[in-house]
């Protein structure tokens, strides 16, 4: 095997290389001293980066000022505040459609045991979709009530980021409309 290029080693070190290629590189490492040194150096660079201290958060008074100023922006953008209310009906309509399609399409089978708020729906796929939509509505509702979704969002929580991105995707669609 020809030695992989630098790009591949970066993706390998950071875990972004797809599994099949990753296995090939690992096999190559076993027999190539130069590449092994390369991979170790990159791993050491990453490990060093991870030891950087997280500096103190912005001062509380700065966050307070930001919150106040952002509140003024928010008041000027009623769509941000009211989005969830309108979106809730879209989600509810979607849930009805999913339910109808699910009932019309799937023959009742023995469902897997899943925790669901819709026990009358027997198809597990439909249950999962409804649960997903319901969770999205709950997040938006929690946001609109000034409460953090439960569990509270953490800055490092990728799920929170995804939820935010989902939220603002919807907002963008609404602005476009």
């Amino acid at each position: 095997m020809i030695c992989p290029n630098n790009t591949e080693w970066v993706l390998y070190a950071t875990g972004e290389l797809p599994p099949p290629r990753r296995s090939q590189l690992e096999a190559h490492l076993a027999g190539c001293e130069a590449c092994r040194r390369e991979a170790e150096t990159l791993a050491r660079g990453l490990a060093a980066l991870a030891t950087l201290e997280r500096e103190p958060a912005p001062r509380p008074q700065v966050m307070e000022t930001l919150r106040r100023r952002a509140g003024e922006v928010s008041r000027a953008r009623p769509a941000v505040v009211s989005l969830w209310r309108r979106y809730r009906w879209v989600a509810a309509a979607a849930a009805v459609v999913v339910l109808a399609i699910g009932l019309a399409t799937f023959t009742p089978q023995t469902p897997r045991q899943t925790a669901t708020a819709t026990p009358w729906v027997t198809d597990v796929h439909v249950q999962e979709e409804i649960a997903e939509i319901t969770a999205g509505v709950e997040i938006l509702e929690a946001c609109s009530n000034g409460k953090a979704p439960d569990p509270a969002p953490a800055a490092t929580d990728d799920q929170t980021y995804d939820e935010l991105e989902f939220f603002f995707d919807q907002l963008r669609a609404e602005v476009d409309a």
Binding site: G71, S74, V80, E165
Partner: protein
């Protein structure tokens, strides 16, 4: 952080999720806590005001970090031209000085010393290479999202990451960090 009049839950969620990381990135890029606080506020406010400009084909997170990076670049460009980083290993980089100034009297000095070595190594990178690593560290962005954030081709970003990680790995002894 509490919810005040005129504030919205979505706004609060956005601030809680993004502000500390945006601040962390800016602090490492500009090296000054007061400037990082100002730029962080400006980033978040611009994100809110500019929601219309956000296009959902990319990650919302990457979009916010792009605003922050552009503000940091502008600020750095406006500063008098002087070497921001000393190549002398014994000289403390600005970020390390700022961190030390904020350290409580009983701060863990040994931990700071270890982090300082990484700060020095990081400070010796080019600004563009450092930017890529910091976006990876604070934004936890995939390289394709970093490319979107910096406005550079993916290949360039990966080349920067490779160069930066390799330098960081080579500058630190094999038994560290």
């Amino acid at each position: 952080m509490t919810t005040g009049p005129g504030d919205s839950g979505s706004l609060q969620t956005l601030l809680v999720a993004f502000a500390p990381r945006v601040y962390g990135l800016l602090f490492r890029l500009v090296g000054r806590a007061d400037v990082a606080e100002d730029l962080m506020q400006e980033t978040m406010l611009r994100a809110f005001r500019g929601l219309d400009a956000y296009r959902p084909e990319g990650k919302f997170r990457a979009w916010v970090f792009r605003i922050a990076v552009n503000l940091a670049r502008d600020w750095i460009r406006r500063q008098p031209r002087e070497p921001a980083v000393s190549l002398d290993d014994n000289e403390e980089p600005p970020v390390a000085r700022s961190l030390r100034a904020m350290d409580p009297p009983d701060g863990a000095m040994a931990r700071r010393e270890g982090s300082k070595r990484v700060e020095v190594a990081l400070a010796r990178l080019s600004a563009a290479d450092r930017e890529v690593l910091l976006l990876r560290y604070y934004g936890e962005l995939a390289f394709k999202d970093i490319a979107q954030t910096t406005g550079e081709p993916l290949g360039t970003v990966l080349a920067r990451a490779h160069r930066a990680l390799k330098k960081l790995g080579e500058l630190l002894p094999e038994d560290e960090p």
